[in-house]
């Protein structure tokens, strides 16, 4: 077996196992930890598939930043008690099954149609990663799709600022009120 296949068969069970284990954890922090393991295995798959930049970014952004934020929020809210298993939404389960099956079918059809599940493995280093993965990616992001990329980033900044403004409005009035009361 080629080294990348060995890596795949070592990490694929870990990936699926951690995903399933995450679903069956009752403690929110334990579930988050399994999700982190899952993100890691995904990062390794990216590496094996010839996308080292994505590998690093997956660890930095998802495993590093977003999950830390998750843990932070869980800890701040003090979710030490286990979540109750009584369903709050009626009919959620059958709807979830239907939608989940739909999603799985969609992914399968997309993968088969556009990526070629049946075809042989594509040689990414020669077709896509011309001059190195990070370089090829930067050409795509900052030349071919420069405008959409920048528009997306501006959109994200606007969303972040909007969230801050919306969250802070009430706080400022209370601070001002407190200041006036002190004066």
């Amino acid at each position: 077996m080629a080294p990348d296949q060995i890596v795949f068969w070592v990490f694929a069970p870990v990936s699926v196992g951690s995903a399933v284990a995450m679903l069956f954890q009752r403690n929110a922090i334990h579930a988050a930890l399994f999700l982190i393991v899952n993100f890691f295995t995904l990062a390794v798959f990216y590496l094996v598939l010839g996308a080292p930049f994505l590998f690093a970014v997956q660890i930095i952004v998802y495993a590093g930043a977003i999950m830390v934020l998750f843990l932070f929020v869980i800890m701040l809210l003090g979710v030490d008690r286990e979540e109750s298993l009584v369903e709050r939404l009626r009919g959620q389960r059958p709807l979830a099954i239907v939608l989940g099956l739909g999603l799985a079918a969609e992914i399968f059809v997309t993968a088969r149609a556009s990526l070629g599940l049946a075809r042989g493995p594509a040689n990414f280093d020669e077709t896509v990663n011309v001059g190195g993965n990070a370089q090829a990616l930067s050409h795509v992001l900052f030349r071919d799709y420069f405008l959409p990329f920048e528009v997306t980033s501006i959109l994200l900044i606007v969303a972040a600022i909007a969230a801050m403004v919306l969250a802070q409005r009430r706080e400022r009035t209370t601070v001002e009120a407190a200041g006036e009361a002190e004066v």
């Binding site: 922090i29 930890l33 080292p52 590093g64």
Partner: protein
Amino acid sequence: MLEAAPEMDWLDWILLVARVVVVFFAVLISVMLLIWMERKVAADMQTRMGPMRAGPRGVLITLADGIKLFFKEGITPTLADRPVYLLAPVIAMIPAFLAFAVIPFGTGVTLFGRHVPFQIADLNVGILWVLAMGSLMVYGIVLAGWSSGSNYPLLGSIRSTAQMISYEVGMGLALVAVLMYSGSLQMSQIVASQDRVWNAIPQFPAFAIYLIAGLAETNRPPFDLPEAETELVAGYFTEYSGIKFAMFYLGEYVNLVVVSSIAVTLFLGGWRGPHPSFVAWLWPLLWFIAKVVAVVYLYIWVRLTLPRIRYDRLMSFGWKFLIPIGLLWVLATGAVVVLPDVYGKGALLTGALIVVGAILVASLLWPLIAPRRQSAGETPQ
């Protein structure tokens, strides 16, 4: 990444494993010496003797401490979340070691007719690997704080999360400036690009930002709020004892060595330095070690000189000063790198004049804006 794999025979594998083992033990020994050095320098600055008994001039003090910690009773608190509690010290330690994988210690040596580089893996995303490992280091602290089932560790770990995430942004910006200037993400290329002048000189603001953020990332004084003993007993590792505490201790110092080594690699020319031509492989290694020791000394010096910073000031310094400066510096570096290529040398001068003009206009307009902002934003102390 896996591109070298097919041509590797058994000798290559042995050399790779040997490199990993050697680096691992070298890091352990360097941590041992580093803790001794810190105690000796501290003693010297406070006109004390410092550790004297274990070994010549007390050099084995860390070993003695380690053995003591190893044989101490390991206590697991009743309220602790056991698996996570046991996992946290390990997670705190491993990323620090992994970050060493991409650091070049020297040029390399020829063994058995093969070139053996003094670097475990020259990833083509080396800088990102360092950032990734840095971002994972938070987990050890966060999980330790949460799983201890006690309030002081929890508070310490919440502080530490906020602090490390905030300063990671500043550190990332400093690294972005360097990689733009060097034109590569690969550690060996970045060292190679410093053959004329060290990055610390043209990239001085980035260097300063990196050093300050490194201080925060390693939780060292004056940024040691996660373990501020006057407020939080011992912060996130309050409930840890024995070997588990030793792992946190080790991880923290390995982290310091990592941060210093990266500072040396990215800003101080890595292993580069003038050297005589005999035993050519040895001198770069010595240069690297000497530079790392110098940076570590700087960190120890800062620790012994500055008092701890208040938490809100720490955060506002990170967000309102370090990150804006970092952003501006990335912008300036981008201009310096790209403008001469695209528009010729004159464009840089024009650009610089425009920036100076903009600053002047802004400074003229500032008094008109500033008073309004003060009356609205300031809260009574």
